[in-house]
Each structure stands twice: as C-alpha cells, then as structure tokens.
Amino acid sequence: MDFSFTEEQTLLRNMVQSFVQDNYDFDSRMKIVRSEEGMSREIWGHFAELGLLAAPFSEEMGGLDGGPIETMVIMEELGRGLVVEPYLPTIVLCGGILSRHASDAQKETHLPGIIAGEDVWALAYAEPQSRFNPADVLTSAKADGEGYVLNGTKAVVAAAPWASKLIVSARISGDQRDSDGLGLFIVDKSASGVATQDYPTVDGNRASEVTLENVSVGADALIGAAGNGLALLEEALDYGIGAVCAEAIGHMKCLNDATVEYCKTRKQFGVPIGSFQVLQHRMVDMFMEYEQSVSMTYMVNMKLTESEAERKKAAAGAKVQIGKSGRFVGQEAVQLHGGMGMTEELNVGHYFKRLTVIDTQFGNVDHHLKRFAAA
C-alpha cells in the first residue's frame, strides 16, 4: 500500500499544470469554445509535443508506458483548466481500447496518428434508446464477405464533430440487450453512409448524432474477437470513469477555492459573507465532499488493473461518489456566489455545467448504485 506519487508523476503534473496555466486561462478557453470548430488544433498539437497524447501507450508503440495513475494526474489538471480538447474520447477511451485489444496491425495503422495529434477519435457506443446500458445496442453489423455492413444510430457521441475516426459498437448477433454478440468497429467518419448531426453540449464540448446507413467496413475494422465487444466496452468505460473522476476533482478543487476566496472578499451587512457560520459549514461540507472524492478517485484508478469484479465495483462506487459530490459542490458554489454564480461571465457556472455532464456520463448515480449492489 502506497499513497504517494512518484517523482515522474509529480513532474508530469507540474508540466500539465503550467501548460494549462500559461495557455488555457478562462478567456482563452471561452474563445475556443465559441470558435467555429469548438476546439483548438493548436493546443492539441502542443499536447502531442508535450507527450501527453503518448502517455498511456506502450514504448514499442511510441508511447510513454503510463498507467491509470498518469492518466489521473493529467485529467485532474485538464479538469482544473476546463480543457475541452478531446483527451478523454481520443486517448483514454479509443486509445485505451486500441492499446489493450487491437491487433498489432491495427495499432501500427492507427496509434501513430493519435500520438502525433493528427487524428481525433470518438467512441460511438450509446444509442437513442440505450440510456446507460452499453449492451442495449440496435445498430447492426451484418457479416458481408470478409467484412461487415453497419446500420444504426449512435447518440450523443462526444467529440464526434472533431473526429476522423470512430469506434462503433454494433450487434453482430443476439437480441437488443444481450451481453454476447457485440463488436467494436473502427469506422472512418468520411466513409460512405456515415452522417452526423453536430451540436454543442452543456459543458462547452461538441457531440454528434451519428447515423450509419449501409456502412461497409473490412475485417480489419473489428477490434478483438467477434461478439466479445461488451467486455472491451465496459472496461473502456470504467477507464473513462477513472478519468472523469480525476477531471471532476480538478473542477471541485477550483470551485471550492473560488468559493472560499469569494466569501472572504464579498461583503454584505458590513462583513465578509464568509464570516457567516452557515456558509462556513457549507464550505466545510464542500471541502469534505472534495476530499472523499479524491479518495475514491485514487481508489478507482488503483483498481482499474485489478480483477474484472474489483474493477467494476470500484468504478461504480467512485462514479456514485463523484456524481453526488460534483452535484453538491457545483450547486453550492453557484449558491454561495449568489447572482454572480448564475452568469456566463464567471468560470464557476462552467465548472458546474461540466460536473453536471460528468454526473450523467457513463451512467448516473442511480445506475451505478445498482451496478455497485450487483457487483
């Protein structure tokens, strides 16, 4: 048992932290969010240069051999900066699936573009009817010669507007919610039959509704064994949970600091509002929620590489904690900022909105409470 960071991890944190501080203040962030594309390819290029996009990949693939703890450190710092660039979908979700389960040929084809910052990837797994169940898949993959033909609709695919490649879950066999029979397919967004409706999301990101109409892919599009896609997907989503937990503690830390600072300076009735005991205890509760969230974030990221059962239980538990704490901290940060907390001008509301999305992302509190009880 060890709860300390290695020297390399601390250096990594410092590097990301200073990059974000120097290049990603709130104004710059809002400019990016409001830009035509909604992300900065320049920043993404810098991430590549700094090696962030290589962090979790093996050295032989040109990566830096990092694990969940490195991802956690990076995501926490990106969270502090409310960074919208698609580290989660491209590196953690899609990159993770590729590095853990793709064939050597697939890796050689796809990882270099990711690591170089040339390709953005998005994971298209949810469907309009699926809610939080990744097995609930109507999109079909019909065997066609060596390859497959895909048909279906994918819902709220984060980062899809920026992506050139998608990983799509599709049903090769079985009924709508069967756990067997899924496949994960690499799909070129420019392939014939792929259409997207793009839109902004609550948290300043972009997403798409993706429709697939007779999209032909080759045998080399399938990741892992046919029909085994759900296990790969669930694992990826748990890694995603580890990452958004880290992102969320970054948000909470910033919200708590901002709130304490605001309450020390904002005066009403001739005194700083931070002198009111009710608000003090509210901030103490926010602090405790943050600390408990940090604990669960460490926990889940240490357990991602344990047994499947342990991983699932850890991810479910952590997601419940982050969902509840994020909601509480976000709502109270706005409340304690009063009217100011309600304005678009201040970063507080934007942290709150990202935390709100995280609460739903990969399944909300109720979903993971049930998953926890069943695990």
Partner: protein, 395 residues
C-alpha cells in the same frame, strides 16, 4: 375542517376552465418562456384585463376580482393545469399593492390602470452589485434638485428590463442613520436620458436579467411613493408579498405531471423509467413534499383571509417552493438521460435549427440551470431562514 369544494366553487372552476380554454391564444400553448416576445408576454394578460381578471389579488375598488381565497386557489390551479404563461409579477404582484397601499391618489390614478391593462411594463430596480442579500446596503443616489431627483447608480439582476417602460426603484436619499433609513421608493421612466440597460447572459444561456446604469437621470419629485427616506417599509412590504406568491404549487404540480409523462416515455433496459423503484421513489418524495407545501399554503391563505397578513411564516413557502422547483427540474434533466447534454440555447438558434433527441428532452438542462436562481433571488433561502429564526423563533 373540510377539504371538499362547495357547489358554487365547483361552478366557478367550470367557468374559469371554459374561459381559459376558449380564450387562451392558440399560438402560445405549450410555448417556453424563453421564446416569448414582448407581445407574447402580454397577450394573455390583455385578454384577462378585458375580462376583469388581471388582478385576482387586488381589492375590488382598484380593479381586483374580489375572489375568495378558494376562488384564487382554483384560478391558480386551472391556469397552471392548462399551462398558461404565468402573468408578469412586476406590476400586478409587486408594484400594484405598493401603490394602492402607499401611493397618493394621483399615483393610484395613473399607475394602476396601466398595470391592469398591461400597457405599462414595469421592472424592479432593487439589487445592486454591492447590495444583494443585504438590500439595505444599496448606494444608488437620488438628490433633490428643484422638483426633480437626480439619480446616479447601478442596478443589477433587473429581470426583463429590456422590455420595461418604467422601473420602480429603491434609491438612497440620505446616508444618515442606519442603512435602512434614508431609502426612498421612486418611479422612473425607462426612456429618461441617462439610463442604459446592459444584458446579462446566465448559465442557462438565456437573457432574462440585466444591469441598469443610471447616470444623472432626472426624475420628477412627484414620482416618489410614500415619504422620502421612508422607503424601507415599502421595500419590506413588497418583499413580503413576493415571498407569498413564490411557492408556485399549482405550476409545480403540472411540472410533476409532465415529469411523470417523460419518465413513462423514457426506457431503461426496455422498461419505462417510471417503473424503476429508484425513480418512482424520487417522484413520490417530490409529490409528497409538494402536497405538504400545498396544504401549508392553504393554511397560510386561510389565516390571511381572516385578516392576518402574510407573516414571516410565509418564508417557508419561498424556501420549500423553490427547493421543490429545483428538484423537479433536476429530476426532469435526469429523466432524459444522455439527451440532457445537447445545448442549443434559444439565443443561439438559427432559423434552420433541428432539435436533437426526443422532444421532451428539449430545454431540460436549460431549465435546471435557470432554476438554480430561485434559491438566490427574492431574498436567498439563507436569508429566509434568518427571517424565520428571528421573527418566528425569536432567536
């Protein structure tokens, strides 16, 4: 003690229901508040004005309806059940009672008819950047210069000021004594030179509130309501009225019905979300809390109708009412699952806007974010608890 409606109340309910059904503007049915133009906002009000139903809470002599407590309750229920656009509170609920309680005859004669008819749109100039919960800390200055006040200052969170013809405004006419002293209540024409309205965009992406800058704004002295330096009494009177209307029970009932419909349509693992034990429990908890609030409001109204004014107990209505509204919007957002994420606020929609996901998901998260304001405005819920602690519990 009896919960049944008398036959004449049943008849009244039928009359009200038919009137709404027959007269409510077709193009405003089911329309979201964020999409309303100034004319839309006023359309229903003007129809009610013609019928004589614009001001149910006013005394008859000033153009009120003379309805009993039960009739007003029925009116609110039916309006909410149909989903009419809630009437603007600034004239009817806020300023009107101030004018007929504190105004002189001349003021009654020119202010009240404009409120009733809907011809004058009022906004409320209370909060300032340095005076939120501590309203008495306000700094906007009005100095008498001949028969005019010269007003300088900065108001904030002024709801719908972009549409307003007039503003009722708290100003500081003296800086002596306690901060509550030296405040005056002034009526200001928004077309007066020196007034600038600047929009504030809120986290729901909407433009509802504004900053109002006042620079050497000249206001006729006759626009002073009540005595100079004695405006605090009026301010408190108005806030008391504001609290009691804020519970929004009937509208919350309707919103829960809508939430239940959504949860019936949303599927979780092939079954309606409404059948999920967790979700059903949360809706039940909401409904029970709302029922309790409804009866608390009815008890308050009953004692009001016996001549006891809305006491500090009415802070409960503000606290519980807004907490329930927030929980409803939160649960509605939760119900729509992944489709809470798409975010195209009204202001950003072009003509070719295509909606995303199911129709019932539309606006769910905007509404959640917008409603965070309700525990802040009208005297934050913390301030309301201070009021109960002091005025009711004597702490």
């Amino acid at each position: 003690m009896d919960i049944d409606f008398a036959p004449e109340d049943q008849a009244f309910r039928n009359e009200v229901r038919s009137f709404i059904e027959e007269n409510y503007p077709q193009h405003l049915v089911g329309v979201d508040r964020g999409e309303l133009s100034k004319e839309d906002f006023l359309a229903w009000h003007k129809i009610l004005a013609k019928k004589g139903w614009a001001a149910p809470s006013w005394p008859e002599e000033f153009g009120g309806t003379g309805w009993t407590v039960t009739q007003k309750y029925i009116w609110n229920e039916e309006s909410a059940a149909f989903g009419t656009i809630p009437p603007l509170p600034f004239g009817i609920a806020m300023l009107g009672p101030v004018i007929y309680s504190f105004g002189n005859q001349e003021q009654k004669d020119w202010v009240l008819p404009g409120i009733l008819s809907g011809d004058t749109w009022w906004c409320q100039g209370y909060s300032e950047p340095g005076a939120g919960s501590d309203l008495a800390g306000l700094k906007t200055k009005a100095e008498l210069d001949g028969d005019e006040y010269v007003v300088n200052g900065h108001k904030i969170w002024t709801t719908l000021a972009q549409h307003a013809d007039w503003m009722f405004c708290l100003v500081r006419t003296s800086s002596e004594g306690k901060p509550q002293q030296g405040i005056s209540f002034l009526l200001i024409d928004m077309n007066t030179p020196g007034i600038e309205v600047k929009p504030i965009i809120t986290i729901d992406g909407g433009h509802e509130v504004n900053e109002v800058f006042l620079t050497d704004v000249r206001v006729p002295a006759k626009n002073l309501v009540g005595e100079q330096d004695k405006g605090w009494t009026i301010a408190k009177f108005l806030l008391g009225n504001e609290r009691s209307g804020i519970a929004g029970v009937a509208r919350s009932k309707k919103a829960i019905d809508r939430l239940r419909d959504i949860a019936r349509g949303e599927m979780e693992d092939g079954a309606p979300l409404l059948d999920s034990a967790d979700f059903a429990r949360k809706i039940s908890e909401l409904e029970i809390d709302l029922t309790a609030l409804e009866y608390t409001e009815l008890r308050t109204l009953a004692s009001e109708s016996k001549g006891q004014g809305p006491g500090p107990e009415s802070s409960i209505l503000k606290i519980k009412g807004t907490e329930i509204q927030q929980r409803i919007t939160e649960l509605t957002m939760e119900a729509v699952g992944n489709y809470a994420s798409p975010w195209v606020p009204q202001l950003d929609r072009g003509d070719n806007y295509l909606s995303i996901g199911p129709d019932h998901a539309e606006g769910a998260s905007q509404s959640y974010f917008n409603n965070r304001k309700t525990s802040i405005y009208g005297g934050s819920n913390e301030i309301q608890r201070n009021i109960i602690a002091k005025m009711v519990l004597g702490l």
